[in-house]
Symmetry: C2
Subunit: 280 residues, 2 copies
């Protein structure tokens, strides 16, 4: 596996890069964005993974969150992957819906036809990409943290829950609380995994916690004016799961904020500082 540098630009005295590479997990060419802070010129730096939400590519967080300024100050590498496989032969939802198929990989390894051939975002994000980043970039893989937004916020939670000890800290912005209990999740898990809900549990943060998975603590920000709050995100489900399992959850309901990158931009600094403290 070799990385191809697609583009790079100077930002806050570091480098914002886009790489592409052949992925064994997805069987496609994948792209991801990497911010290398100025400190990376002197040696390996800790890594913050940021998983994006529905419809996003590696560009959305990179262009809209304003995270590089703080990452440059704190010496954090930011890795922003794409949200699904793409390209020739990769199937999409029949109606090109935004919440399934392209741009909506849900960080699962699909087991159903035709999705299982390429939609293997769990293996990609959990195994293949970390190996590639660790081997190719000045990343200190003993110091990793993970965060994300919406579908990606939930992806971050589940990846951390399934890989205890890998991440020193975990946070999310407006994450889906429990895909087994919302229309987005039910559609995606039915489509990618089939109707047997027993197979869904490893892709549901609340079910993982109920089944014994743990993280040391969680930081979650949620806009109180988020259009998807009551229909899809349901942070109260995550709140109950954490309470039942005695996982310390800091859930901040931010008055007036919606689901957009304007919300993310407003609070990403808090998340980066939270992770930098844990990564110290």
């Amino acid at each position: 596996m070799t990385l191809e540098l697609i583009s790079q630009a100077r930002i806050f005295d570091g480098w914002q890069r886009t790489y592409s590479h052949q992925s064994a997990a997805t069987g496609t060419t994948m792209r991801f964005a990497a911010y290398l802070p100025p400190q990376a010129e002197a040696g390996p730096v800790p890594v913050l993974w940021f998983l994006s939400g529905l419809t996003c590519t590696e560009d959305n967080f990179t262009q809209k969150a304003g995270a590089q300024r703080v990452a440059a100050e704190l010496g954090l590498m930011l890795i922003a992957p794409d949200t699904s496989p793409r390209g020739p032969g990769v199937p999409d939802d029949a109606e090109n819906a935004y919440d399934f198929g392209l741009g909506a990989g849900f960080y699962v390894d699909a087991t159903t036809t035709p999705w299982s051939a390429h939609y293997r975002m769990r293996s990609y994000i959990e195994d293949e990409l970390p190996e590639l980043v660790g081997a190719s970039l000045p990343a200190d893989m003993t110091r990793q943290a993970i965060s994300g937004h919406s579908m990606g916020g939930h992806g971050a939670l589940t990846i951390a829950l399934r890989n205890p000890g890998r991440f020193r800290s975990v946070s999310a912005l407006a994450p889906i609380g429990s895909p087994m209990n919302c229309p987005w999740g039910e559609k995606a898990l039915t489509g990618y995994l089939g109707p047997d809900r027993a197979f869904w549990r490893e892709y549901d943060a609340c079910a993982l916690i109920a089944d014994g998975a743990r993280v040391p603590e969680l930081l979650v920000d949620q806009g109180a004016a988020d259009n998807f709050l009551t229909s899809q995100l349901k942070p109260e489900l995550l709140e109950k799961a954490c309470a039942d399992a005695a996982i310390p959850l800091t859930l901040r309901r931010q008055e007036g904020y919606d689901h957009s990158y304007f919300f993310i931009a407003s609070f990403i600094e808090d998340h980066l500082r939270y992770h930098a403290e844990a990564l110290r």
Copy 2:
């Protein structure tokens, strides 16, 4: 003239809004973005205009520059207009080129057919929109500053030069130095104004300065790795014009930076603080 609120989102405890309105200047429906900092809830706040570059709408600066964080701290309203008229009946470049027609109004009042019917961005930005902002938003129009990027950086310079006393401070990021002396500018001014270069001079910062227009001082940032530096932007022309006219110009050549919003994001805070100081 009434404003229609198209969308709004909370960001850094203020409001990012998109408005539309019927424009008498362009004869079209125009859109602009306005950031209202938290201080605007208590009364009028000073205004920073930001004019965008080729291909942009009101969204680019709003979504990618990361300016709201600092504007919220400093209590600045940010106004980001569109870069051309759009909509039914508005002609575009025959080849849909990015550097003429839609997205490329160059902040001029066109005098040629078919452009003169709608491409009147000078009147729109210089007269109509300020009147509308002053009448409809909590803006202290006695305290205005102006900045912009590329085509819009040059637009900011020319609007300030033609309206002495209106803006307390003027800055630009990677502005076109002299459209009369670069391919982008020669194409645009020929197209919108015809071949007689005498009519171009009021739309060229260096010519305006040579003809006696003045601003108290200028701040300009320019990426040293900007792809358009030597072919289009030519900051040395502006440097010479300012030197000849004894206009204090702070021209900062930023090593490694290109023409993108990653460059703008890296230095916009300096510009906002520069303007806030003048607007105090």
